[in-house]
């Protein structure tokens, strides 16, 4: 577990007072709560986030606590939410915008691609958009169509926005707080599968995890497995089971998809020379290929085998009767680890 970075910049109640054992969705609520408390400029906007507390209850109780002015049920309009957020952010607020599912962010695509990400550039920093867009993503929870998209690559290709995808309650809270204090826009992806899939000790109060830094979740010398979000658990499971066959894996949770932590990737690949990249997005154009590019640049001479990718296919995420086949499984990852190991 990472150390608490006791950032005490703004207020005094920075010290972790204790720990609590909570799920990822609770950790997210907690981060929002901490920041609403610390910083008056923070406002939450979204569909059903107020009275209803969000369709996943990520904002449960917050409207009651902070009022309808700060935790706002908006009309059903993603371009409206993000566009209004741009105005709020430019004019001094710190909007956190919930997009109900990542698959419904597309109506706001123009706002993100042409304004959220370009305002600083266009005004040389005179006007900026410190905004967090939160969006549940991913397959595996038997959700209806479109709800299961994992389309982070649209945003990593968009200059001017950071993309974060935590895999644990601890990281989720620390990274969300960092995102909310970041001077630039952040897309914060939350795995629906992980929302309630396990608890972890999380410090109370304020702490930050550094954006742009990956994390080793398992140490090994033979094969590097690189992934993020919901796939961390699956990859770890696969890597653990490879120990039976005497294959030791380095498992890296990159946590931030843009900017990527090139060092953690390069260091590991220089050690192992064998790589498996795992993600649930479509293979073509996926962030896996950015990782490939990092490796090509930083560790080409160390590679002992072609890099393997275990990813979603180049097909729309299927309806739930077949989604388990779409999603990378531990078994598929094992096959890939074995393949690069025995190349």
């Amino acid at each position: 577990m990472s150390l608490i970075s006791a950032n005490k910049k703004n207020k005094t109640n920075d010290f972790a007072l204790g720990q609590k054992n909570i799920t990822m969705v609770q950790a997210i609520t907690d981060a929002l709560d901490v920041m609403l408390e610390r910083d008056e400029r923070v406002m939450l906007l979204g569909e059903d986030i107020g009275k209803n507390g969000g369709v996943f209850r990520a904002t449960d109780g917050l409207q009651k606590k902070y009022g309808e002015d700060r935790v706002v049920d908006t009309p059903l309009s993603e371009a409206g939410i993000i566009g209004t957020g741009v105005g709020l952010a430019v004019n001094g607020m710190r909007p956190v915008l919930e997009i109900q599912f990542l698959g419904f962010i597309y109506p706001a695509f123009e706002q993100i691609a042409t304004h959220v990400t370009r305002m600083r550039m266009r005004t040389r920093g005179e006007l900026t958009v410190p905004m967090v867009i939160r969006a549940p993503y991913g397959a595996g929870v038997r959700a209806p169509e479109i709800h299961s998209d994992s389309t982070e690559a649209y945003f990593t290709h968009m200059p001017g926005i950071k993309v974060i995808c935590p895999s644990s309650p601890y990281d989720a809270k620390g990274l969300l707080i960092s995102a909310m204090e970041d001077p630039d826009p952040v897309l914060f992806m939350e795995s629906m599968r992980l929302y309630r899939s396990g608890k972890e000790e999380v410090p109370e109060g304020y702490y930050k995890e550094e954006i742009g830094k990956g994390k080793k979740v398992k140490e090994g010398k033979d094969v590097t497995v690189i992934t993020w979000g919901a796939m961390v658990k699956t990859a770890k499971e696969a890597a653990d089971s490879m120990e039976n066959r005497d294959i030791e894996c380095d498992v890296i949770d990159v946590r931030t998809l843009y900017p990527l932590d090139q060092d953690i990737i390069a260091d590991s690949v220089q050690k192992t020379g064998r790589v498996v990249i795992v993600h649930e997005a479509h293979e073509t154009g996926g962030v896996g290929n950015d990782i490939l590019s990092v490796i090509n640049k930083q560790a080409f001479m160390y590679l002992k085998a072609p890099i393997e990718k275990v990813t979603g296919f180049d097909v729309p995420v299927p309806m739930f009767s077949l989604e388990d086949h779409y999603l990378p499984s531990a078994a598929r990852i094992q096959t890939a680890i074995h393949k690069v190991y025995s190349f």
Binding site: N52, G53, V55, P75, L76, P316, P318, M319, S321, E323
Partner: protein, 353 residues
């Protein structure tokens, strides 16, 4: 703005204008009644199936039967229907196979279309189907047919850009579309008054210079005749109409939703007495000599049988084939998908051994 609520049958079952009675044949009343009963029974069964883990998340429409059946019955077979995820009542009325509707809610791709029927797959991203309706209807004009399009959407959908762009396109192109809004009071948890500042949805028709009709969505007679008129206008080349059917969603948004978080469900149940569209029709039938106990009993039984058969069909439907993931993205599979498919299918076969 003057958009009075059009109503034919009052809550107590009496007629607003008794002279309309001539136009209401027994056959028509039976159709109304049969379809409303049928889709309500379906809805309740589906909800139960979900509870038993035999369906995935399911979106109920109980309370909206008059709006869905009344509008759907106004369509000809060759007219197109573009539904949302909550309009399978209308779908069933327009000829969709019940078994397929069940498949859809069971996460089966085979359930999102209805071979031979002019029905679009349900639009999941809100309001995106409105522009589709414009194009679909326009294609009919280009082909020189006399067919129109009916597109469903909710009160929440009016906030999306696609609602606006769709209505604007249709009005400019004089596309034969009926924009049928079911104002059921809520978009998930958000009440209409937070969704918009306007007093009605129908007044948004003014923005496009098209006719707007506000109809009591729990009065199937009014819904049916108003939709029919709008379709006639469309077919005569007079362009689109916006209909707002004021109705109510009795239950949760979907089986994944807990309405007690944002509204008083007991209050909803109390209101049901006044607003339930089926009870209203029953009162009308009772007061106007259309009551027929035997027929009702038979009908109920037939419906029950149909639903049970559909459930059986759904549950006996061949298992989803993995290849389906890959096979329908393009007409001719590009190499990247071919390779992904082959690799995966080989791996699966290996695994299974």
């Amino acid at each position: 703005m003057n958009f009075p609520l059009v109503r034919c049958i009052k809550e107590d079952g009496n007629m607003v204008d008794p002279s309309l009675k001539e136009k209401i044949s027994e056959e028509l009343v039976k159709k109304f009644y049969f379809h409303m009963k049928r889709i309500r029974a379906f809805d309740r069964s589906a909800k139960n199936l979900q509870r038993q883990g035999r369906l995935g998340t399911y979106a109920m429409y109980e309370g909206q039967e008059a709006a869905q059946v009344g509008s759907a019955l106004a369509l000809d077979t060759m007219d197109w229907m573009l539904p949302t995820y909550r309009d399978h009542g209308a779908l069933l009325t327009h000829g969709a196979e019940m078994m397929r509707v069940l498949l859809y809610w069971n996460g089966r791709m085979e359930g999102s279309f209805h071979p031979g029927k002019r029905i679009f797959p349900p639009a999941v991203p809100i309001a995106t189907q409105l522009p589709h309706a414009v194009g679909t209807a326009w294609a009919e004009v280009r082909k020189g047919t006399n067919n129109a399009c009916l597109v469903y959407f909710g009160d929440g959908a009016t906030s999306e850009g696609d609602f606006h762009e769709g209505l604007n396109f249709a009005s400019v192109l004089k596309s034969p579309v009926v924009f049928f809004n079911q104002n059921n009071g809520y978009a998930i948890s958000v009440p209409v008054y937070k969704q918009m500042n306007s007093e009605s949805i129908v007044q948004k028709s003014v923005a496009y210079g098209i006719p707007g009709i506000r109809v009591d969505g729990n009065d199937i007679v009014a819904v049916y005749f108003e939709t029919q008129k709008a379709l006639e206008r469309a077919k005569k080349g007079e362009g689109p109409t916006l209909i707002e059917a004021v109705t109510q969603r009795f239950g949760a948004h979907t089986t994944a939703d807990d309405p007690s978080k944002y509204r008083d469900q007991e209050e909803v149940e109390r209101q049901r007495e006044h607003v339930d569209p089926i009870r209203r029709l029953e009162r009308f039938m009772h007061k106007h000599g259309f009551e027929n106990e035997t027929w009702i009993k038979e009908t109920e039984k037939a419906i029950e049988t149909e639903i049970q058969e559909a459930i059986m069909e759904m549950e006996n439907f061949p298992k989803a084939e993995i290849e389906d993931i890959f096979d329908h993205v393009f007409e001719i599979m590009p190499r990247s998908i071919v390779e992904q498919k082959n690799e995966y299918m080989e791996w699966i076969r290996g695994e299974k051994v």
